[in-house]
């Protein structure tokens, strides 16, 4: 029986209904619904809401700061997991404290910390700045969004603990963490929907990417439950990839396209490609991620099942994953060309996040193609490439999702906090350490995986020493990611106190140039620049009347 198409049909229907409701509203219930949601976001929380500031930008700043700290913790957990894959007793002395993790547990905890802690929090944090900016309004409730960042962090902490011990005192820890995360996610979705309901101008497509990324997450879960596919291996695999394609891919695409344009000062290269990114991401299945959907299974409290797809599921799944190359290539090319504009030089000293976004967009296409082969193989039941699945998943996490979300966060953070990072050169060093550590370290690990696969295929009895050497090299090289994330954290925190103020920069850059240039008739760009205008000068068209004038009355 087919599982994929009916589940996706329900998902597409729910998405269309959501879009219509967002555009048309709830008719006569609009005001009541808005008032009730606002009450739930603020007053219903009682004194708790008074614990946080409601200053503009405070929510985004808090989410990004939490995300940065989670990035550092995720890199440490993943590094330790990689190390233990070749030296399983390295941390045995911690057993005296009752903590004896193995490689799998540390990697699993690292994935939770990286996906939901670092990437998730930075994307949501950037979205809390981007959506109100694109809507021409303020965030509906800064206080609530700031408050739920604590709840989300708590949920990620519980998930990280749950990765080590799934059940404590009879309580399923991962399900508990998921429940808290759903609560926080619901608050963020309601906040963002209320924000766009107060929009003063049409929202650009990157804004819709963020919104669909947010609502796509719960709708994907609802679709799988409505279709009844949640109990099958294919249904569990599908919900894992639907969440990856909506919340992570759409969310990152939305915020990074905005940041690439604003950070580089270039307009988005193609509006059509943004549309293709949005439409394609929703109708296709994103192949990136592990072949093992145990993360989604554990989070939803389901019984894990083997993937045994029917021929129809295999064909439709493979086709829809191949179709995902359209949004992937559209998004990647749009981002890369936007960063360059008319110039081949990408480096922008004022926007340290641009290097990260550039790297993430470059790595996206080859990793997505690699994931497509691995997932198609797994869905067909062959499993010949399953040996590299976990490392490829790590590579997509640390070489694509992390740089894109981190790059966006590095652009958005100064905008919401009013201060730049302390040192651009330290940011650049952190970028090289993080990207070099992740790409080189995980490439060495993939080489070890391939070596293991070849040995298994040739039925070799003795393990090869080169595999262990490659794993050692991979884990040591990955340590660069730990150092890079620590550098980023200290740079961001110090920048909050001693970084150059953005307002000062505006004042200094405009002291010798006009803020605005009034355009009364058609003219050339050369003339505008010759008048002393800079790239930041706002050109304002001034309408002229053809009516005859009269003498000025004194």
């Amino acid at each position: 029986m087919s599982e994929i198409i009916p589940t996706l049909a329900i998902f597409w229907l729910l998405m269309v209904v959501s879009f219509i409701l967002m555009k048309r509203g709830l008719s006569i219930f609009n005001d009541v619904a808005k008032g009730m949601v606002m009450f739930m976001l603020e007053k219903a929380l009682g004194p708790a809401i008074d614990f946080v500031q409601g200053k503009p930008g405070s929510a985004s700043r808090t989410w990004i700061m939490h995300g940065m700290i989670w990035a550092m913790l995720a890199s440490i957990l993943t590094f330790a997991g990689l190390w233990l894959s070749h030296d399983s007793t390295a941390l045995h002395s911690l057993g005296a404290w009752g903590y004896s993790p193995d490689s799998h547990e540390l990697m699993y905890a690292g994935r939770f910390a990286a996906l939901f802690g670092a990437v998730g929090m930075m994307v949501i944090g950037a979205g809390l700045h981007v959506v109100p900016t694109l809507s021409g309004t303020n965030l509906a409730s800064e206080s609530n969004a700031t408050l739920v960042s604590g709840l989300w962090t708590l949920s990620v902490l519980i998930l990280v603990i749950g990765a080590h011990a799934k059940e404590i005192l009879g309580v399923d820890i991962i399900v508990l963490g998921t429940a808290l995360q759903i609560l926080a996610m619901t608050a963020i979705i309601l906040n963002q929907l209320l924000t766009i309901s107060n929009a003063t101008r049409p929202i650009a497509i990157p804004g819709w990417l963020i919104i669909f990324g947010l609502i796509g997450n719960p709708l994907a879960v609802v679709s799988v439950f409505l279709s009844g596919a949640y109990g099958t291996g294919v249904g569990q695999w599908l919900v894992y990839h639907m969440i990856g394609g909506t919340f992570f891919f759409c969310g990152i695409a939305g915020v990074s396209l905005y940041a690439s344009s604003m950070g580089s000062g270039n307009p988005l290269w193609s509006r059509t490609l943004v549309g293709f990114t949005l439409f394609g991401a929703l109708i296709s299945i994103n192949p990136m991620g592990s072949t093992d959907p145990s993360m989604a299974v554990d989070m939803l409290g389901l019984e894990a099942s083997e993937i045994s797809s029917s021929t129809q599921d295999h064909i439709s799944g493979s086709f829809l994953m191949a179709l995902a190359m359209i949004p992937v290539i559209a998004y990647s090319s749009n981002l890369l060309v936007t960063l360059r504009g008319t110039d081949a030089f990408v480096e922008n000293a004022d926007s340290p996040g641009i290097a990260e976004m550039n790297m993430g967009a470059w790595m996206l296409i080859p990793i997505a193609i690699g994931s497509l082969f691995v997932q198609t193989d797994a869905l067909g039941g062959a499993g010949e490439l399953s040996g590299i699945s976990q490392t490829l998943d790590l590579l997509s996490l640390w070489a694509v999702l992390m740089p894109l979300s981190l790059g966006t966060a590095l652009y958005v953070f100064p905008q919401v906090s009013g201060r730049k990072v302390l040192s651009v050169s330290r940011s650049r060093a952190a970028f090289w350490l993080m990207s070099g550590g992740a790409v080189a370290g995980l490439t060495f690990t993939i080489m070890a995986d391939l070596n293991d696969m070849a040995l298994i295929e040739s039925l070799a009895e003795n393990p090869s020493s080169i595999t262990e050497e490659l794993r050692i090299l991979g884990s040591v090289t990955f340590y660069g990611t730990v150092l890079g994330s620590i550098f980023h954290c200290t740079n961001l925190i110090s920048g909050q106190f001693r970084g150059e103020k953005l307002s000062e920069e505006v004042e200094s850059s405009t002291s010798l140039s006009p803020h605005t240039y009034e355009l009364t008739s058609s003219t050339s760009v050369r003339r505008i620049l010759a008048s002393g205008a800079t790239l930041d000068t706002e050109v304002i068209p001034v309408s002229q009347s053809e009516e005859a004038g009269s003498a000025t009355e004194l």
Partner: protein, 92 residues
């Protein structure tokens, strides 16, 4: 002491500027201490280092894997972040 005097003292002992040569002094200190450690080994061959030789056995079986070298670096990084937060918040 007068108010003017106390303000002058505060100004003098604050040490707001950091001369580049101060790092040379620090490097010289590190090199000197390493040299004295080497000298101890030459002057008293076969004798264990005082204090250090008593402390090291406590960590036998604990830091017996190379991962601890890296994890100590990560811990230093975490403490650096916490330290940065505290010092930046209280420096005003």
């Amino acid at each position: 002491m007068s108010d003017q005097g106390s303000s002058q003292i505060t100004e003098f002992i604050q040490g707001e500027k950091e001369p580049q040569s101060s790092s040379v002094v620090l490097a010289l200190g590190v090199v000197a201490s390493l040299s004295f450690l080497l000298l101890y080994g030459i002057l008293y061959p076969g004798r264990e280092m005082p204090v250090v030789s008593e402390l090291l056995p406590m960590f036998e079986g604990v830091f017996d894997s190379g991962i601890w070298f890296f994890l100590l670096g990560a811990m230093l990084g975490i403490f650096a972040i916490i330290g940065t937060m505290l010092t930046e918040a209280t420096s005003e």
